[in-house]
């Protein structure tokens, strides 16, 4: 049996929308809430607290403690409703002071001195002090079954000169530290966690589930819902919504039906491109759109024929019409890729990098290296071998499959024959990224690939993406190697000065756009559906979407 959840979900959704659109009731009035528990809505300008917001997620996030939550999104976002980090992401996606009101970095970039906010307590009344921060660092380092272990790996020592001062010493300078660690790691209450010896199997209940965050998890019902209650004494101010109910759906179509029936007030995941216009036209539902940092790109093995030739890579980049991909596959709900990797909406984007489509220039490049069609089959030959290969794409992702099919047509125009091979996700990963270990090489020629948002959000990750040494370039899946790139990537890893960082990042974007370690195709945009009559405070965080705890805080309490 072969499942295709993405395709099935989209199909189901298309059907339910078709059915609804045909029904006469759809055009007259929005349906009344089916449940009698519909929340009392507050007028948007009034400062009064909204009584309840019901959100929909897909799947279960388990018991939502730092060791048991399931996904990076939205699991981490739900987790962080209950906990705080030392810094927090602002609307532009940049880390700002939070639990730490001051973050001082030493001149060598390896020592962080943090001053904690006064009067912060965990929601059981215990004060949050530097001892909790120190405990958190050592606990995550010692108990490795969590993503925060990796985030704290570079911390060599932690000192607590006073109850509100923490000094973190790193093994070396790490400019990504504020974003990847300080704004990511939840601070644990020492008095609760020091008794927990096997955190991955420790099922938390409403008594022990203690953090300093704006919400407290008070009810967990496996595969059905979570219920959170606001922490009225939150140190940044009382949350704007008193109670959050998070309903768990099996698929996106179920959540779409539920928001249309007013059984939920917001869908946490982005709405599929084909549903945006239909759902947005529904009375009482607003769609909030914005840039996201997930990526869709072409990866190839730059160490082997034919992609070891930079001219072939450049020809591929010139042949793909990124705007066409965004319009056709994503119905306009995607930002065309910048060949320099960085999203045009990112503050680090180098506007000097121009990405263009030019089929004639692509053909000229191939002609220039004597890659011509000698046997008249429409496919060029280079060094006696046809420019013919498989393009791997995961079978469970219908959008990537459509991207692959369009790219195939675009490449055929310049005489490159990239056959779409839709394979099981495990096979796709095993060929492009064997054992998830770049030092083990690659077993593919061409493939549609994509990274999750954090890789794009943290510009420091460029080093991991393009450095030729697997110890640094841990996600350099294309085997790219270039001495200037390596040197810049290393410098980026130790440079804290923002101006110099921007220079390096600008230069790296230029190199990536010409040397093409991969071909950036597009960045799917985020589109989120909610009912503004229930709660209208959602803000779109660049690259991350609207589901974040700062969306649930009054404006003056945000970073």
């Amino acid at each position: 049996m072969r499942f295709d959840p993405g395709r099935t979900g989209a199909l189901l959704a298309a059907i339910v929308i078709t059915v609804a659109a045909c029904s006469p009731a759809a055009s007259t009035a929005p349906s009344e809430p089916a449940a009698s528990t519909s929340p009392t809505a507050a007028p948007s300008e009034a400062p009064t607290q909204v009584a309840q917001v019901r959100m929909g997620i897909v799947g279960d996030e388990s018991t939502l403690n730092p060791y048991t939550y399931v996904t990076g999104f939205p699991g981490w976002n739900l987790l962080m409703l209950q906990y705080d980090s030392l810094m927090a992401i602002d609307e532009q996606g940049q880390p700002q002071p939070w639990l730490a009101t001051a973050v001082d970095v030493s001149a060598d970039g390896a020592t962080y001195t943090l001053t904690l906010a006064d009067g912060v307590t965990f929601n059981d009344g215990t004060p949050l002090t530097s001892a909790d921060v120190a405990f958190t660092v050592t606990y995550f380092q010692a108990n490795t079954q969590s993503r925060f272990t990796r985030a704290l790996r570079g911390v060599e020592s932690v000192e607590t000169p006073s109850a509100t001062t923490v000094v973190l010493k790193l093994a070396g300078p790490n400019p990504s530290f504020p974003l990847r660690t300080l704004a990511d790691v939840p601070i644990l209450p020492k008095h609760i966690w020091e008794a927990v010896t096997n955190p991955a199997e420790h099922t938390f209940d409403s008594v022990t589930n203690v953090g300093s965050g704006p919400y407290k998890l008070v009810e967990y019902n496996s595969d059905q819902f979570y219920r959170f209650e606001a922490n009225a004494d939150y140190f940044r101010g009382e949350p704007a919504v008193k109670e959050l109910v998070v309903a768990k759906f099996a698929d996106d179509a179920g959540a779409v039906a539920a928001i249309r029936a007013s059984e939920i007030d917001m869908i946490v995941r982005p709405v599929a491109p084909e549903q945006i216009d239909i759902l947005g036209a529904e009375a009482g539902i607003t769609i909030n759109k914005g840039p996201q940092f997930t990526t869709t790109m072409l990866n190839y093995d730059t160490t082997k024929f034919p992609f070891d030739r930079v001219e072939v890579r450049q020809a591929v980049s010139l042949a793909v019409d990124r705007q066409d991909l965004a319009d056709t596959v994503y119905l306009g709900g995607a930002t065309p890729g910048s060949s320099g990797w960085i999203h045009p909406n990112s503050p680090f984007f180098n506007s000097a990098v121009v990405t263009k489509t030019d089929v004639d220039a692509a053909k000229a490049l191939l002609d220039g290296i004597n890659a011509t069609d000698t046997d008249g089959d429409g496919i060029r030959e280079l060094d006696g071998q046809p420019l013919s290969m498989e393009m791997l794409t995961p079978s469970n992702d219908s959008l990537r499959l459509r991207v692959a099919e369009l790219v195939r047509e675009m490449l055929l125009q310049i005489g490159i024959d990239a056959k779409v091979a839709s394979v099981e996700q495990a096979t796709w990963e095993a060929k492009i990224w064997p054992d998830f270990d770049v030092s083990k090489g690659r077993d593919y020629q061409l493939g549609v690939w994509g990274w999750s948002a954090p890789v794009q959000a943290d510009t420091g990750q460029i080093a991991q993406l393009v450095h030729s040494d697997p110890a640094v370039g841990s996600i350099n899946l294309t085997g790219f190697s270039d001495p200037e790139t390596d040197q810049l990537a290393e410098e980026l890893g130790i440079t804290g000065d923002p101006a110099r960082r921007q220079e390096i990042i600008n230069r790296l974007q230029e190199i990536i756009a010409t040397e093409l370690p991969f071909v950036m195709l597009l960045y799917p945009d985020g589109a989120y559906a909610y009912r503004p009559d229930v709660y209208d405070g959602w803000i779109f965080i660049t690259g991350r979407g609207i589901m974040d705890k700062i969306s649930l805080l009054p404006p003056e309490a945000r970073p």
Binding site: P5, V19, A20, G59, D60, V70, T149, D223, E429
Partner: protein
């Protein structure tokens, strides 16, 4: 039926179960890709080297295959289905939480389809060739060919989104805190649409079996004898025809029990119902292989139990089968 034939038949079932368990054990180890990814799921790329080592040791992947197999059988025998690295919970807990909901849905659906299917089938055969028969036969064939997800979406769209009579999702209203009778009503309201979908899908099977079985019996000599004796049509229908015709129908219903479980995968997904079927769907979409293995095994056991039930019910209903064994 002698005791030796009972043991013989049970042995057959144990053998089939063992084969199923073995295939279940071997599948993730034979599939392409890194076995680590198959055990730890989609997040394996994010694991630190220490975590990977921990997963390998915990799953016993560093031990010889035969040792792994023995451990696997031993764990299963003690009701330990392993650990879901994705859900971060013991799989036995996951199954225990979801099984009651699936039993509720399949129980209601089976009861409805058994009663409606049998009655309609009997009526249809009795009125063979007349309007009632032709109309119900036509409707049943249409129902039988309906894709379950389509039917489910249709019901949600009409009764939940448009009319607002029933909830669109779940088994209870989230965080409503209902008690007593209110809680019961809430569960019933949530179960109606998914149970209806499942019933609609299994009625035709029962109906068609009953109808053909009835038609067969109606043509038998003993029915002609009964008529010749001057028995009333009612007595013939109930005492002679229906009783004899029910024998194969009971078998079909018992077998449906196993397959009804399979039907819940789609229906529980459409209605986001927290049962075993949805657990399978989420395990497949999240590539949670240990959970897939465990739930497939539970489904296999359900089919085996329903077969066993059919095997043992048949002789009870049909004296000929008793005499033969």
């Amino acid at each position: 039926m002698g005791s030796s034939s009972i043991t013989g038949r049970l042995l057959q079932y144990v053998l089939v179960l063992l084969v199923a368990v073995t295939i279940n054990f071997l599948l993730p180890r034979l599939m392409p890709g890194n076995p680590l990814a198959l055990i730890a799921g989609a997040d394996v790329g994010l694991l630190t080297p220490e975590q990977r080592q921990e997963v390998i040791e915990r799953a016993g992947l560093d031990r010889p295959l035969i040792v792994q197999y023995a451990t696997y059988i031993g764990d299963l025998a003690t009701g330990d289905f392993g650990y879901s690295y994705r859900q971060k919970r013991p799989i036995t807990d996951l199954i225990a939480e979801r099984l009651p909901w699936t039993l509720l849905l399949t129980g209601i659906a089976l009861a409805i389809s058994a009663v409606v299917g049998t009655l309609l089938g009997a009526l249809s055969a009795w009125r063979r060739g007349r309007f009632t028969d032709v109309a119900s036969l036509g409707v049943m064939i249409v129902l039988e060919s309906m894709p379950s997800f389509w039917l489910g979406m249709l019901l949600v769209s009409i009764f939940s989104v448009q009319l607002g009579i029933f909830p669109t999702f779940g088994a209870i209203t989230p965080a409503a805190g209902y008690q007593g009778l209110e809680a019961v009503i809430d569960v019933v309201r949530h179960a109606i649409l998914p149970a209806l979908t499942l019933s609609i899908l299994s009625v035709p099977g029962v109906y068609l079996t009953m109808r053909y079985s009835m038609l067969g019996v109606l043509g038998e000599d003993f029915i002609r004898t009964a008529r010749a004796k001057g028995l009333s049509e009612r007595a013939i229908l109930l005492r002679h025809v229906a009783r004899n015709a029910l024998v194969p129908v009971v078998t079909v219903i018992a077998l449906r029990l196993g397959f009804a479980f399979g039907g819940t995968v789609v229906v529980e997904t459409v209605f986001s119902y927290p049962g075993l079927g949805r657990l399978i769907f989420e395990a497949v979409s999240g590539r949670d292989y240990p959970v897939m293995q465990a739930t497939f095994l539970v489904f296999t056991i359900a089919v085996l139990i329903s077969n066993l039930l059919a095997d043992y019910l048949y002789p009870l209903l049909d004296p000929r089968a008793r005499a033969a064994s």
